[in-house]
């Protein structure tokens, strides 16, 4: 399977390295032409405002939406923001998933953190998944057709009750960065999802 990784800005190489390790052909996507021949797409972490502006400037928003009509897309962090229908401020979005996100929901960089999540959809579900949250968003609203995959375990802080991973058909959004860890299970999950 040929997996495109949107390479306008952000940590796209971390994604291509994991994909290559799983025996996938990973392709960096910078123009609409690069989407041809891809079976699925990952939108990486980065600055969502920068990625969206570049996609707009190089007329990629339309082709990305069309690609989403037929193919699976996974967004991590900034990528999840791009997939959403609303980010509570004016910025260009793909609007492919019926979700709303809250940007920088946990605060600034000093509030960034890592933690372990229990995700029943992954292989060896009893093994926790180490999740890295960098100035991360939360999914603040999900539509009827959206399946919540993971919430952050609640503790005393009020923002902790949020949705951090969700799936709607062939679209997947995660607020954290599986590409920053050595654990390939989320990438395996997406590949499996894309093959369904």
């Amino acid at each position: 399977m040929r997996v495109g990784v949107l390479a306008l800005q952000g940590d796209f190489r971390e994604h291509t390295e994991i994909l290559s390790g799983l025996g996938m052909e990973a392709v960096e996507v910078r123009t609409a032409k690069h989407l041809q021949g891809c079976d699925s797409l990952i939108i990486p972490g980065g600055e969502s405002t920068t990625i969206a502006k570049l996609a707009d400037a190089f007329e990629l928003m339309g082709p990305l939406r069309e690609f989403g009509d037929r193919h699976p897309i996974w967004g991590t962090c900034a990528g999840a923001i791009l997939l959403s229908q609303g980010a509570q401020r004016e910025q260009p979005l793909l609007g492919l998933m019926d979700i709303t996100v809250q940007r920088n929901a946990f605060g600034r960089q000093v509030d960034s953190f890592e933690t372990e999540l229990q995700v029943s959809e992954l292989e060896v579900p009893e093994k926790p998944f180490r999740a890295v949250f960098i100035r991360a968003p939360l999914i603040s609203r999900v539509g009827e057709n959206v399946e919540v995959i993971c919430r952050l375990p609640t503790n005393r802080e009020s923002t902790d009750d949020g949705i951090v991973a969700a799936r709607q058909g062939k679209f997947l959004a995660t607020c954290f960065h599986p590409e920053l860890t050595e654990d390939p299970r989320f990438h395996q999950y997406f590949i499996q999802m894309a093959q369904e």
Binding site: L8, Q9, G10, E114, T115, V132, I134, N155, L180
Partner: protein, 295 residues
């Protein structure tokens, strides 16, 4: 499972999110908004851009916290701020403001002529400048989570940025070929911790993200640094000392994405107005150069 903040993964992680992007120096909230609009991945909040620091002379210090806070509230992208080399109290103050990254920077007047800040004990991540691999690994050894080659700030002359990037990346290329028994002597030669020398050899690159800085003024300069092999660029005086900052800022952002596509770069470089005037580095006396600061 508890949340763990301030881990090395979290500190290095933000720099990884900035890759393929442009970090712009700004001196007012209005500049910050222009930078964000141009597609900057982060801004560096300053009282004066390096070109003005160079012109004005005197002691250059951390910016007024009130200005930094104003800039933080003007934009949603990360905000960085500079402290003086070795001035750990300026760093404590910046951390308490909640800035997203601290640049322990040679552009400001050094506060310590022998020691840099112990950056491990902070939760906020640090970026530090370097001219060669030894300096980069010493800073990483002190806890820097991101490196930038220094170049010569405030000049608009890219020659030093090229020299420093070639130095770091060339030394890494040599290191990759080096037999393991030579690593200790090489670490001694570099003045760098041997564990980091070994890790760099194994990775074939620095263990943290590496940007270029100091003298970049055009989209072609930015693409040049990207083709040499850095992960992204800082542009200081080059944007807001030019004729049309929003247009030039946007063009440099686009050039960093399409750094390998000459036709696209030609299109991006058209009609940007005047670049910053600049000063040739060779005309600056050794004692006035900023890059030599750092130990």
């Amino acid at each position: 499972m508890e949340k763990q903040a301030g881990t090395l993964t979290v500190k290095k992680g933000l720099a990884q999110m900035l890759k393929g992007g442009v970090i712009m120096d700004v001196v007012t909230p209005e500049h910050a908004v222009i930078a964000e609009g141009a597609g900057a991945v982060a801004v560096m909040a300053l009282e004066r851009v390096p070109a003005d620091i160079r012109k004005d002379g005197g002691v250059a210090r951390m910016s007024d916290p009130a200005l930094i806070l104003e800039i933080m509230s003007a934009v949603t992208i990360p905000v960085m701020a500079k402290c003086r080399i070795g001035h750990f109290v300026e760093a404590q103050i910046l951390e308490s403001l909640g800035v997203d990254y601290i640049d322990e920077s040679e552009v400001l007047s050094p506060a310590d002529d022998a020691h840099h800040i112990d950056k491990h004990i902070f939760e906020v991540p640090f970026v530090c400048g370097c001219r060669d691999l030894g300096e980069a690994l010493r800073r990483i050894g002190e806890g820097a989570a991101m490196i930038r080659t220094k170049g010569e700030a405030g000049t608009g002359d890219v020659i030093e940025a090229v020299r420093h990037a070639r130095s770091v990346l060339g030394e890494i290329r040599r290191l990759r070929e080096m037999p393991d028994e030579e690593l200790m002597a090489y670490a001694k030669h570099l003045g760098a911790p041997v564990d980091l020398v070994r890790e760099t050899k194994e990775l074939g690159k620095l263990p943290v993200v590496n940007f270029a800085a100091g003298g970049l003024a055009t989209p072609a300069d930015a693409a040049l640094m990207m083709q040499l092999g850095v992960d992204g660029v800082f542009v200081g005086s080059g944007i807001f000392k030019s004729g049309d900052p929003p247009l030039r800022g946007k063009a440099i952002v686009e050039a960093v994405t399409h750094y390998n596509d000459p036709e696209m770069l030609a299109e991006i470089s058209k009609g940007l107005g005047d670049p910053m005037v600049g000063i040739g580095v060779s005309s600056i006396p050794e004692e006035e150069r900023l890059a030599v600061r750092g130990w």
